[in-house]
Symmetry: C2
């Protein structure tokens, strides 16, 4: 009880929440970028191009394949949906051949399936792929998004003045709110500042954005996932205090089900994204996700860790011999929190690696101990205070437990 | 016809063959190291420790799972099979607890399944894991291997004088031959010289060894596979002329079916190992290889490329935008060779990448063209001289064709 109280105080002091009431847990959904990039040739690639068809298909499959039931909710169009020029009234318009029914009809189709609709824009003069940005039309574009029934806006930061972001991102958020429509606001604001040597003001960012990209785009490779995990671990003391219900650090999309990750590596991404309280935004081809990868994406116990109501991100608490131990406090809370505990491996030396920790050393100090449940298996056991937990971690794999506090 | 003749002349001049008549095509089989390393605690890890049980199981599964039928033949024990000391007569002996029946009985069990038996030793004072090396007992140890009915010897190079290898490796080979038993001789000779700044004399090495490790140990990761592919491409003009029937460059084991490679990456390793005329020595847990990975390892058309009787290794002939094109001349031969053609990707940008080549530019110059057969699919088509071949290559994946010369 004491523990919950302290946590709440920290949240209120450290990062007063965005006032739109959205994203009380990390957003979940599907986005086009990592898998479908800027494919715009619908003649050659009719099933892959950024088009009305792609996003209706994604919405259909989110529902029919069970992803929606598991919590995946937002269908988000990333870059390359726009016409190269604004219309004669200076308004944004989608590419007329690829989005022949316009955005509002697509949004309403997605919403008719019980899902929500997200749309990408860019704070600068152009989007990263060279389409019109919002910089000179902040209010008009926010209005347009509202009129199109958008539920989620990702605002990128290419071709933008980095120094004006501290004013401009809040301003666009203000215009979004002014439409009267509730829209989740995803900001690329800090990552562009980081990359240009500025120290992002995360207190301010958390006041104005529901989530924000801290670091590089994810790519379809284990080395990219490793690199992102490493950055989030190294910067955890700076960034974790700013996250909580309504406002989240974003290590970028889930790439599970694509070409570059093995099954073990996919389990690792899912586990660590749960530990980090990261948005769970898949970018994959939902028509082609093999069953064993789908099982990872639909793992209810791991999703429950990710969506834990306390919204406290975990941290890497130990790193030794290329094994990392990550711990996240979750409900239920007793004498201490319960915890999600992940052991991840950056090793590639063939055999599973044996690793032991004393529970005290990783912060699990409840005298009565915890029930450990293997989240990628069936194993369940009890460990008392000061006990040693020994695991075997596959190369590039993970062992992931929920440790539920015992009375 | 002209083409075959020229090739044969080069082989005879460049690297007169080892006189044991073995390994006319690259050896195929299974070896313990990459997957099972030096696990010696059979109490804790009864199914994984380097033991009689592990190798009998491997032999059983090679046969029952169809690997033997596909050509995988050698069951090879890597490091960590020895007692820490020689016996009272100064002879090598296997660890008595882990190999309670001795080596000859194990060899004969493996041979009774129609397979062949390989054993590891080290040219230096100690093996890499610290067990007795052969340096002071070359003749005795070769004799012992003969008495144990060994069919294949891998001689590593830890704890050895690099400068004495040019004499010592041939000497041990001489003693192996002197036993009267035919044993494939796998030498780590060049890689230790490379790592110590010497230029290996591959002409001499090819005279004395059936295969030789040129470069670093493979690890269970795509980055390791990429690194090895890059080394073999960069050094191809030096190393390829020394390979052919009886003597092969060895880029190390197949790691398909383990933890670190995705399905696409596994297809890439198999394809490039076929292009390189590399030994196909799996190191994996045959009890746990998932069906889609097994299918890669058992792909008869790709194995046929690897085992092509001409024994001419392929080369990387083009590299552009992180796509590499690899071409290997194979049978049947007409106006030109037939060819295996692989497009591999070092990209990780999400979507399959479109890549085109003109057949002439990659050396496919038969005026009547070729029948192209997709070795990872069913597609078959004819392309005439000077035609353009366009493929889409998955991130970290491969497109692999056999182009059969048309009359």
């Amino acid at each position: 009880m004491l523990c919950i109280f302290v946590t709440s105080v920290i949240l209120v002091v450290g990062c007063s929440a965005l006032e739109n009431g959205l994203a009380r847990t990390p957003p979940m959904g599907w986005m086009s970028w990592e898998r479908f990039r800027c494919i715009v040739d619908c003649q050659k690639f009719p099933d892959e191009c950024i088009s009305d068809h792609l996003f209706r298909t994604a919405a259909d499959l989110l529902v029919s394949e069970g992803y929606a039931d598991a919590g995946y909710e937002y269908v988000i169009i990333d870059d390359c949906w726009l016409s190269k020029e604004r219309d004669s009234n200076g308004r944004l318009e989608p590419d007329p051949e690829r989005f022949p029914h316009g955005m509002k009809q697509l949004a309403n189709y997605i919403q008719s399936k019980g899902l929500k609709f997200g749309l990408y824009e860019d704070y600068g003069t152009k989007t990263c792929a060279g389409y019109p940005g919002v910089i000179d039309n902040l209010e008009l574009d926010a209005q347009t998004f509202g009129e199109w029934d958008v539920d989620y806006v990702k605002l990128d930061g290419c071709y933008a003045e980095i120094t004006s972001m501290d004013e401009g991102y809040p301003q666009f958020g203000y215009y979004l709110n002014k439409t009267g429509r509730l829209m989740v606001y995803s900001c690329s604001w800090p990552v562009y500042q980081e990359e240009n040597g500025m120290k992002p003001n995360l207190t301010k960012i958390a006041e104005h954005c529901n989530l924000w990209r801290n670091y590089d785009d994810i790519q379809d490779s284990w080395s990219s996932v490793q690199d992102i995990m490493e950055w989030f671990a190294k910067n955890q003391d700076v960034i974790v205090p700013h996250a909580g219900p309504g406002h989240w650090n974003d290590p970028d999309m889930l790439i599970i089900g694509n070409y570059g990750l093995s099954l073990d590596q996919s389990k690792t991404q899912m586990a660590v994204w749960a530990i980090l309280a990261a948005p769970l935004i898949m970018s994959n081809d939902l028509r082609a996700v093999r069953p064993e990868f789908k099982e990872i994406l639909l793992n209810r116990e791991i999703i429950a860790i990710n969506q834990d109501v306390l919204g406290i991100p975990g941290k890497r608490v130990q790193q030794h011999r290329n094994i990392s131990v990550w711990v996240r406090p979750v409900t239920p809370v007793g004498y201490t929190h319960s915890y999600a505990v992940a052991f991840t491996s950056n090793r590639d030396d063939g055999a599973p690696y044996t690793y032991s920790v004393n529970l005290n050393d990783i912060g699990l100090t409840n005298p009565a101990g915890y029930t450990f449940k293997d989240l990628y298996g069936d194993k369940e056991f009890v460990l008392r205070a000061n006990a040693t937990l020994t695991v075997r971690v596959n190369p590039s794999g993970v062992v992931f437990y929920k440790a539920t506090v015992l009375p």
